[in-house]
């Protein structure tokens, strides 16, 4: 069995640090450990890429729209407000 230096991260830890890494929330030394792990671990490199792809894909989702009835209702409310007010 390979001896692991105490400061080496294992994959299971790396996946929990991915968001901190992407958000720039890791300390300098943690970021170095994280990147050192990625250099030798194709699986975690793929994992990071999958997370990035997931974020990109989420960014392509479009918000649901409001029903036409609700829109009309809103416009009516606006007109009432304007007439009451100024």
């Amino acid at each position: 069995m390979l001896l692991r230096r105490r400061e080496d991260l294992v994959c299971q830890q790396v996946v929990e640090l991915v968001s901190d890494y992407l958000e720039g929330g890791l300390s300098r030394s943690d970021r170095k450990r994280f990147e050192a792990h990625l250099r030798v671990c194709p699986n975690c490199t793929n994992y990071l890429e999958q997370m990035r792809a997931t974020i990109r894909a989420t960014g392509t989702l479009t918000p649901d729209d409001l029903s036409p009835e609700a829109r009309t209702e809103l416009t009516d409310l606006f007109r009432n407000w304007r007439n009451e007010g100024s």
Partner: protein, 202 residues
């Protein structure tokens, strides 16, 4: 000038003067996003619509109080979250992080914490695949299934593209909590896409 190309601040200025077209344009611009966000707090689409309407009325009545210290969108979403929270049943603050779990199923790792089997690369055709309607359908479902606290943050950050400072401002949470919840949410979405890819045999 085409109202759709006007900035929020230009539209707001006209809204202050009671301009209906400016109001309609702002509604069209943000309603979908607001509805989706509201939906994370309340039990039904109808209640979400009420919260959104309520918010717009709050905007119209309170437009003079908008000081421009945050963006209009941040201000708008903060009003919405307050209204939706009071319309919905919201769990106590200390349960904020209660739905935390590991980012990846522990069975995927060996006893030493390394991946038990290789992780496939999505790199080659990831964008094509992820953009295909079927994947976005699965992603949309997975987003809908996230615990509400995770969902609201993923929506604001990754669907709306807001920065973390604005999101913390809208939701009234710390950067640290925001990051934890974002991490859980994104991790679950990744897992959902992975299982979709695997079940379709690529």
């Amino acid at each position: 000038m085409d109202p759709a190309t006007e900035s929020d601040l230009e539209l707001l200025a006209r809204l202050r003067d009671g301009d209906e077209a400016a109001f309609v344009t702002l509604v069209a611009r943000y309603n979908g996003s607001m509805l989706r966000l509201a939906r994370t707090y309340v039990p039904s689409a109808a209640v979400a619509e009420e919260a959104v309407q309520d918010t717009w009325m709050g905007v119209v009545r309170g437009v003079d109080r908008f000081e421009g210290r945050s963006s209009f969108k941040t201000w708008l979403f903060r009003i919405l979250v307050n209204r939706a929270r009071s319309a919905g049943t919201r769990e106590p603050r200390d349960l904020l992080l209660a739905d935390a779990g590991p980012a990846v199923d522990p069975s995927r790792f060996d006893a030493g914490g390394a991946w038990a089997r290789p992780l496939e690369s999505w790199e080659t055709d990831a964008d094509d695949r992820l953009l295909a309607a079927t994947w976005s359908g699965r992603l949309r479902d997975a987003l809908g299934e996230l615990p509400p606290r995770q969902r609201e943050i993923v929506i604001l950050r990754d669907v709306e593209g807001m920065d973390s400072g604005s999101v913390c401002d809208v939701l009234g949470i710390s950067e640290g909590n925001q990051r934890v919840l974002l991490h859980r949410g994104r991790s679950r979405l990744r897992a959902a896409l992975e299982s979709e890819f695997e079940s379709r045999g690529r």
